[in-house]
């Protein structure tokens, strides 16, 4: 199981990639593995404004539904529409093509309190 070092993590199993003032959000390898085959991803709408800690998306497998909690506050600028037809990409490429949504951060300092790869792994 992989936990790339260039990403930040939340104990609720989201990963975040910071690119300037944009935060790209997905779920960790561990989370996709625990959920099993993902059959549906409920995406937020572009333009939605999310507070840190709010539910941004739902990831559904045949036996469970996982919530994707916004790791930072801001406005949703892009969602991964490919997941509407091919949700299983989250399983096959959780850190790559399986990203879920992008947030334009309103308070970039919130990212400082996120976990690094080692810190996240310690919570598992």
């Amino acid at each position: 199981m992989e936990f790339p070092n260039d990403l930040k993590y939340q104990a609720t199993h989201e990963w975040v990639k910071i690119e300037g003032d944009i935060a790209i959000v997905g779920i960790s390898d561990h989370a996709q593995d625990q959920l099993g085959e993902i059959v549906f991803v409920e995406l937020p709408s572009v333009g939605d404004s999310l507070e840190k800690g709010a539910v941004g998306a739902n990831v559904e497998s045949s036996k469970a539904v996982g919530e994707v909690v916004a790791p930072v506050s801001g406005e949703v600028t892009e969602v991964n529409e490919k997941l509407e037809d091919e949700p299983e990409i989250v399983n096959s490429s959780p850190y790559g093509d399986g990203w879920i949504f992008k947030i334009k951060m309103s308070n970039p300092s919130e990212a400082d309190s996120l976990l690094d790869a080692a810190g996240y792994q310690a919570t598992l």
Partner: protein, 437 residues
């Protein structure tokens, strides 16, 4: 499938496993003053005594030979096949299967029901059924909130007053505002803060609303407002334009194949457009194939959003269906077939219009509806009390006094005529109307 209750030993094992002494100690959290000590339940009766008592009770029922009462619950001819099939012990349970996949036959019946309803409504997806039309409509209103995240729904006048109450109760719990408006005011009340518009057609007064026109207004004024249509008597689908053709987002109904018996038990029908499938409450049965084979099987699908998994985050508290009433609806539809349902609809329409016209020709009677009607209509009468009394004396279950729901409409009655009203009963009813002046 057998349902075996726990025996003493199993109970003992379970208690030991969780480290609890006896069953009572599972309830220590409940204050003593709230616990019921003695239930005032009489001693058991012998079978013979019980039958005698129940027979005495049932003899208090007044059974009329003909009925002109509808108002949400309709007398229709139910083919004998329906009772025969639902009386099979494999079907004869009010419950949805909880260990679902071992009950393949039950699941297949639900799957066939879903398919049959989707066909007559021309809606994409139908769930395994809800409790009744009122609760299905309330669930549809909350669905509109989940889809749009907006907290206000509009109710168009003409929805059954009891459905309105149910919707208001559910919405109150979800913190969703409800507003009742006339259809003429719809355009002025629409904006992007509205989650959904609820309309009944045929409405409580029997009138067929122009649903496709309502849909056009909603689409032109809002981005994603949900159009919800309720229908009390779905036999009209044999002839009227199905909701799927009118751009309806969520359709709810009840009845079909079930007896009115004091208004229930019944089933709630809930059908939606495919894009809203994942916001739909209740169970859904799917057809699938083995991974390593060709065998088909039925499964409970999309259940991850239900409350046994999602707990307080579930979309609804329903995790059941109306199994027996649902099978009755399915067998009813299958017995009638496409032509049979059409015939029922035509007979209802024609008989009701015959009575409507005849009543309008009696002096001092007038028809209140100014829109087309199906099998119900509102009549202004010279003497409602006398009419109702005379109906009862003549073994006719009288029409509804509209003042039961609308106190200031004292002179009006809601008359329902179905295929079960014989020519003879119609003649008798019209004669009574002439005399009740």
């Amino acid at each position: 499938m057998d349902f075996v209750p726990h025996d003493e030993e199993t109970i003992k094992n379970m208690l030991e496993k969780i480290g609890v002494e006896n069953i009572d100690s599972l309830y220590v959290d409940i204050p003593n003053n709230l616990k019921i000590k003695d239930l005032n339940i009489p001693e058991g009766l012998t079978e013979a005594d019980l039958l005698k008592k129940l027979t005495e009770l049932s003899e208090k029922n007044k059974i009329y030979t003909s009925a002109f009462l509808g108002a949400g619950s309709y007398y229709h001819y139910i083919p004998s096949l329906v009772d025969f099939v639902i009386s099979q012990s494999q079907f004869f349970t009010a419950y949805t299967p909880y260990q679902a996949e071992v009950s393949q036959g039950m699941l297949q019946s639900i799957y066939e029901y879903q398919s049959a309803i989707s066909r007559i409504t021309e809606m994409d997806v139908t769930n395994a059924s809800m409790y009744d039309c009122a609760s299905a409509l309330a669930e549809a209103a909350t669905m509109a909130f989940f889809i749009t995240k907006k907290r206000k729904v509009l109710l168009i006048e003409g929805i059954h007053p009891e459905y309105v109450e149910t919707v208001q109760t559910y919405c109150w719990g979800r913190n969703i505002e409800t507003k009742i408006i006339s259809l003429d005011d719809l355009e002025n009340n629409l904006n992007d803060e509205i989650a959904g518009v609820l309309i009944q057609s045929p409405n409580f007064f029997g009138e067929i609303e122009n649903i496709s026109h309502v849909a056009k207004i909603i689409r032109s004024k809002t981005k994603k407002c949900i159009l919800i249509q309720a229908m009390s008597d779905p036999t009209c689908l044999g002839k009227l334009t199905p909701p799927g053709k009118n751009d309806v987002d969520i359709f709810v109904s009840e009845g079909m194949g079930n007896k009115p018996s004091f208004g229930g038990p019944n089933l709630g029908i809930l059908s939606v457009k495919e894009k809203y499938m994942r916001k739909m409450p209740g169970r859904l049965i799917g057809l699938t194939k083995e991974i390593n084979g060709d065998k088909e099987g039925y499964i409970l699908t999309l259940q991850a959003r239900e409350q046994h998994i999602r707990r307080e985050k579930a979309l609804s508290n329903i995790c059941s269906n109306q199994a027996l009433s649902m099978v009755a609806a399915l067998i009813y539809l299958v017995s009638l077939g496409k032509t049979g349902l059409k015939e029922v609809a035509i007979q209802n329409f024609q008989k009701a219009h015959h009575v409507k016209k005849a009543l309008s020709q009696i002096s001092s009677y007038s028809i209140i509806n100014n829109k087309p009607t199906y099998n119900e209509f509102v009549v202004k009468c010279p003497n409602v009390d006398k009419l109702i009394k005379k109906c009862k004396e003549n073994d006719i279950l009288p029409p509804l006094r509209l003042s039961n729901y609308f106190p200031n409409r004292k002179d009006e009655i809601l008359v329902c005529v179905t295929e079960l009203n014989s020519d003879e009963s119609i003649k008798k009813f019209l004669q009574i109307a002439k005399e009740a002046i």
